[in-house]
Symmetry: C3
Subunit: 331 residues, 3 copies
C-alpha cells in the first residue's frame, strides 16, 4: 500500500568524486586529492572576493541552519560569515539550551528532519561522535556539513589547514612538517595526517612525549599511505627544513601525576621565540587550530611566520565559502 520514495542517503554520503552538489560533508575521507584541489581553487577566488569587498549574491535566497548542539563561537562565526559574505542567510541555533525540542524529548533525527524542512543546508556541530553521519542518514534532500562531531571529525578544520599549506607552498606534496603535542589523542593531528597522506612524498616529524606517541597500528597505516614518518621526543631533533610546525595542546590529565607532567611536558611543548630561533627555518610557518592554550607564547604572534591568527583563521572563511558554494550547487 503505502510506498516511500527516499533518496539514497548512501549517495549523498558517498565519495565526492568530482561532484559536490547535494553531497554531505561528513568526513575528510570523502574527498580525494582532486576534490581538495577543486576546493582550493575556489577558495582562492573567495579570498579575492572578500578582499575586493564586493557584495556577492552567489547564495542569494539560500537559507542555511547553523545547528549547534554545543557552543563553538569560532566555528559558528566562521560559517556564519562564510554564508553571509556569499549573500546567503542563516537560522542560528547556537545555544544548546534553545534546542528546546530535544530538551522536551524529541529525537535527534526528528530535529534534523524539522530543520531540513526549513533550510537549504544544515551546518551541524554536535558533541557526540557520529552525529554528523546520523544527520546525513536522515536528511533526504539537503546537504549536511559536519562542523565537528565530538572527537570524531571536523573536516573543514583539516581542509583549512591543508589550504594554508597549499596557499603558502603552492603544493601539498614533497613537504616536510612537524606535528607536535598530543600525537596520541589529537583529532586535529590525525585528520591532518590523513589529509597529507593523500599526496606524494610528504615527510612528517611527530614530536611528543613517549607515552603520547601515535598508536602502532595508526603509524603503520599512515606509513602504508605514502607518508614518511619520524617519531621524535626532543625538540633537539626537529630538522631545520620544516615547511610548517603544527602544535597541539597536551592536557595534564594525560599523565599520572603533576610531577610526571612537569618532567615530560611543562615548558617543553610551548612555542617560544627562543625555540623558533633555534629550530625553525626562515620559511617555517607556525600553525595552531586555536584556541591556543599553553601551546604558543604570545610573544610569537608578531613573528610573520606565525600564521594562526592571520592566514590560517582567514583561510577557514575562504574554504568554508568554497565548500558551501560547491555543495549548494552554486559553483
Amino acid at each position: 500500500m503505502s510506498q516511500t520514495v527516499t533518496l539514497s542517503t548512501n549517495e549523498k554520503l558517498s565519495a565526492i568524486a568530482g561532484d559536490f552538489k547535494g553531497k554531505d560533508i561528513v568526513s575528510l575521507d570523502q574527498l580525494s586529492a582532486d576534490d581538495l584541489h577543486r576546493v582550493f581553487a575556489l577558495a582562492g577566488h573567495m579570498k579575492q572576493l572578500v578582499l575586493d569587498k564586493e557584495p556577492c549574491q552567489l547564495l542569494a535566497g539560500q537559507v542555511i541552519s547553523l545547528l549547534f548542539f554545543e557552543p563553538s563561537s569560532r566555528t559558528f562565526g566562521s560559517f556564519a560569515s562564510a554564508i553571509k559574505r556569499l549573500g546567503g542567510q542563516t537560522i542560528d541555533i547556537q545555544n544548546p539550551e534553545t534546542v528546546s525540542s530535544v530538551k522536551k524529548g524529541e529525537t535527534f533525527e526528528d530535529t534534523i528532519r524539522v530543520f531540513e524542512a526549513y533550510s537549504d543546508a544544515i551546518v551541524l556541530r554536535h558533541p557526540q561522535p557520529g552525529a554528523a553521519r546520523r544527520a546525513a542518514m536522515c536528511a533526504e534532500f539537503i546537504p549536511i556539513v559536519n562542523a565537528g562531531d565530538g572527537n570524531n571529525e571536523h573536516p573543514t578544520q583539516t581542509i583549512l589547514d591543508l589550504y594554508t599549506l597549499y596557499e603558502r607552498f603552492g603544493r601539498l606534496d614533497n613537504l616536510t612538517g612537524l606535528l607536535a603535542g598530543d600525537v596520541l589523542n589529537s583529532r586535529t593531528l590525525h585528520s591532518l595526517l590523513r589529509g597529507l597522506s593523500l599526496f606524494e612524498n610528504n615527510t612528517i616529524y611527530l614530536l611528543s612525549p613517549e607515552k603520547l606517541r601515535l598508536k602502532r597500528e595508526d603509524l603503520a597505516l599512515f606509513r602504508s599511505r605514502n607518508l614518511i614518518i619520524h617519531e621524535i621526543t626532543s625538540e633537539k631533533d626537529i630538522p631545520r627544513d620544516c615547511q610548517f610546525w603544527y602544535w597541539t595542546r597536551i592536557q595534564k590529565e594525560r599523565f599520572d601525576s603533576i610531577s610526571e607532567y612537569n618532567d615530560m611536558v611543562a615548558q617543553r611543548f610551548t612555542v617560544t621565540p627562543a625555540l623558533l630561533a633555534q629550530y625553525a627555518g626562515q620559511e617555517t610557518i607556525v600553525m595552531d587550530p586555536l584556541p591556543r592554550i599553553g601551546t604558543i607564547d604570545t610573544e610569537v604572534d608578531k613573528d610573520t611566520r606565525a600564521v594562526y591568527l592571520r592566514s590560517q583563521i582567514r583561510n577557514g572563511l575562504y574554504t568554508r565559502m568554497a565548500l558551501l558554494a560547491l555543495v549548494l550547487g552554486r559553483a
Copy 2:
C-alpha cells in the same frame, strides 16, 4: 496641555475581516473562514516560490524581531526561515537569559515598545497566557504575531494544521477526523476544533481515556458551532473513513498513579503500523504537532500517510510566509 495621539489598539487587534495589513495575529478567533482561505491561497504561492528556489524580495528592507521569552527552536526556526525566504531580516532574541532588560526589572510593556522602535513586526513567544494580547495592546504601530503564549493560543500552529488538511483534501468542510490523546488539556486540539468549527459539516471523533474527555461546556460549544462530535474511548471505535488522525501526548502526571496510567494509556495511545493497518483508511493522513513523545512509533515514519515530518512541518513555513506578507502589507 500634553496630548497623546494613539492608534486604537482595538483596531489592530480586531477581526481581520479581509484586511490583514497592520493587524495583530493574537488569536485564531480573529480569522473567518474567508480570511483563512486567503492565507491558504497565498501559502500555495509561497510553496511554489520555495520549490522554485528563486530569491524573493517581498520583505526586502523589513526587519522583524523574533522575541522569544522561552526557547522553542522549531517555532523559532520556522519563523526565521519564513522571513528570510521572503528577503526580510530578523533580530534574534531567543534566549530568555538575554532578555536582559527584563532581568534588570524592565516591564514587559517597555520591552515591547523598545523592540517596536527597532522593528516592522514582532513575533512573540512567551510562557504567560495573554502575553500576546498585552503586547498587541502596547505596540501602537506594528503588528504582533503570537508564536505561542503559554497554554493560551498558538494560532499559526492551527493555521498550518488546517492548511495541511485543505491542501490534501481541497476543502475544510465535510471532513471526518480523529483527534486523540489528551482531549481535555491539549491546547492544540482545542484550537483545531475551533478552526474546524468555522466550516460546514465536519465530523470529529474524540478518542481519549474517560477522565481526559472534553469539558462538558466545551463539548456543547463546539456542537453548537456546526461540529458533529463523537466521543470514544477505544481505538476499536475509530471509523475507517477518517481523512485524518491527529494525535497528542498524554502526560503521566494526569493520572493518580502509574498503574492507572499503565491501565488507561500505555501502549494504547501510540500510533503503530499495526494500529494504522487495522483502523486507518488508505487516504487517512497522520498528523502530530511535534515534538512527538510517545505518540507515534518511528516505524510509522516511512508510511506515506505520515505527514508530520513532511508536508505538515513544511506547511508551517508556507503559511507563516503568507501570514507575514499579509500583515506587513506586502501581499
Copy 3:
C-alpha cells in the same frame, strides 16, 4: 628576520577629527562638536530612510560581528536593527556562554583577532572597563564600536541622548537641563555632562541627595569646560524653564540603611504626573536611558513630553546607523 607590518592602532583610536572611516569608536572623547554635528546630520537622513520604508543597500556585503560578552537585549537589538536596515549582515554572539573559546581559556585578544578575520567591524559589549580599548588595540584592520564596557563608557548612548536634544531644540548650546538621581555614580550622566560641555553656554541643574553629589574634582572639571552647574537637593528648586529632564536610578545599596534611603529618596526621585505638572515647562522633554526602574511612573508615558519610549529610543537606531555608515566608509 621576521618583520611585522602593523597599522598604528593609535591612529584608529585617535580623535575622529572629521574622518570617521576606519576609526574605532571607544570613547566620547574622540568626538568634537563638529564630529557630533556630522553624525547628527546623517542621523536625520537615516530617520527619513527608516520612515520611508525603502530598502537600503548602504552596507550591502558588510558583515559585522555583534560580540556581546554580557547580555544587553536593548543595545543588541538597536545595533542589529541599524545594521540590517542599512542592508548589512550580522554575526550574532550574544550569549556569554557561547563565547566558548573564552570558556576554554582563550584570551580576549585572541577572540577579537579571530572575529576580526570574519568581519568588517565589531560591535563590542563587555562587562570589564577598558575592554573596548583593549579590543581596539589588537584589531588592526577593522573598527571597534564600544557598545558599553562596564562602568567605563557607552558612547553611543550619549550620542543618542545629545541627538535627541539636538533634534528637538535645533541646537546643543544655550540649553537648560535637569540631571537627576545618582549624580555621583551614573555613567550615563557623567557622559552626558561631558557631551554637553563641548557646546557653549549650557546650564545644568544637578538634583540628587546630598551624599550622591558629583565629586568635587569632577564638578570643577565640568565648570572649567563651559558648563554652568547648579547643585540642588530638592525638586522645589527645579527651574520652570528646563528644556529637558534626564532622570537616573538611585540604588538602595548606596545608603547605609533602608530608613536613610526612605528618608532621602523613596517617592522623591520618581517622575510623576504631579511632579511634571508642578515643575516642568510646556516644552520640557523627559528622558531616561532605560530600563527605567522606579525612575518614571508609567502614568507619565502618555504625556507627549515623555520621549524615552518614543524619539529617544528611535534616535538610538538612527544615530547608530549613521555612526556605522561613517566608520565603515559608506557615508
